[in-house]
Subunit: 152 residues, 2 copies
DNA sequence: TATTGTTATACTCTATAACTATA
DNA sequence: TATAGTTATAGAGTATAACAATA
């Protein structure tokens, strides 16, 4: 052959060389692609993935504490604060003092928050369909399982 | 049955409920875990993953333009600027006017930049080993291939 | 003493908009 | 007109440090 396959891809305009062998690099690029699709397609939602995750978790676990939300979503206390603050400013959730432990805040969704979450879930279903279209059912399951091995 | 399996896991302290079925959610958590491991373990490097990616790419493609770096790493022009600026401030790379196209900057690593990249590559090898320890060789390959389907 | 929430602060990544220089 | 770089600006996520209230 006059031109080996390697040479054909090496000068490709999108070539990233040895970086392509780094798992962490692909995770970051995939994350950016997913984040971008979510925000671009659902700009009218005006909720980030993280904000939706918090709403979702509070809906699943009413009266959950901030520290608990942070632990489940792998966030710092201060990081959790900023997100809960934003959601509270928009009247999507409210803080109550926990009855069992005065140090804790008990988080609850407002009706508006529940409505926003419902809209978000519809959007996420579309988003997931976009994502899953690349994979067979077995592949999707395997992917989730492997990603979980990383973050668990 | 008195207690279905679902109920057993539902009250787990780390349970995230239906969120666990969302691929995008796992990608984000995995990304955070990888990012955190990288920054915590290699704080003395004082380089972010993104900064290393740019150094790496400039080393692989001397005289590459900023717009080209951005395209390959899927970043905006302005985003690329801020990263190149930081690296230039630290004398890790320099800008030259492109000879072929006066609009473009040709990026080159300095000796310091090459030294920093060499240190970074050693660190990344360790980081990758940490990551890959979870997977068989076939699994790692499959994971990269699936992630590439998302960001390509 | 330890935990939870809070506030202040800072840095990185990301992006949009407007401008300049060059093609 | 289109492209590449630049500058200004802003928002989201992340984190550390210090403090207050509660356990």
């Amino acid at each position: 052959m006059a031109v080996p396959t390697a040479a054909l891809t090496e000068d490709n305009e999108d070539d990233i060389g040895e970086l392509a062998d780094i798992i962490g690099f692909h995770i970051r690029l995939a994350h950016v692609a997913v984040y971008r699709h979510f925000t671009e397609t659902f700009a009218d939602l005006d909720l980030t993935q993280k904000q939706v995750s918090v709403l979702w978790l509070v809906d699943d676990h009413p009266a959950i504490s901030q520290i608990d939300v942070g632990r489940r979503l792998q966030m710092d206390r201060a990081t959790t604060m900023t997100i809960v603050n934003r959601l509270q400013d928009r009247d999507y959730l409210r803080r109550e003092r926990s009855e069992s432990d005065g140090r804790k805040q008990a988080l609850h969704l407002t009706d508006e928050g529940r409505a926003a979450l419902a809209r978000a879930k519809t959007a996420i279903a579309e988003h997931e369909a976009w994502l899953k279209s690349r994979f067979s059912a077995e592949e999707a399951e395997k992917l989730v399982e492997m990603l979980a091995r990383i973050h668990e």
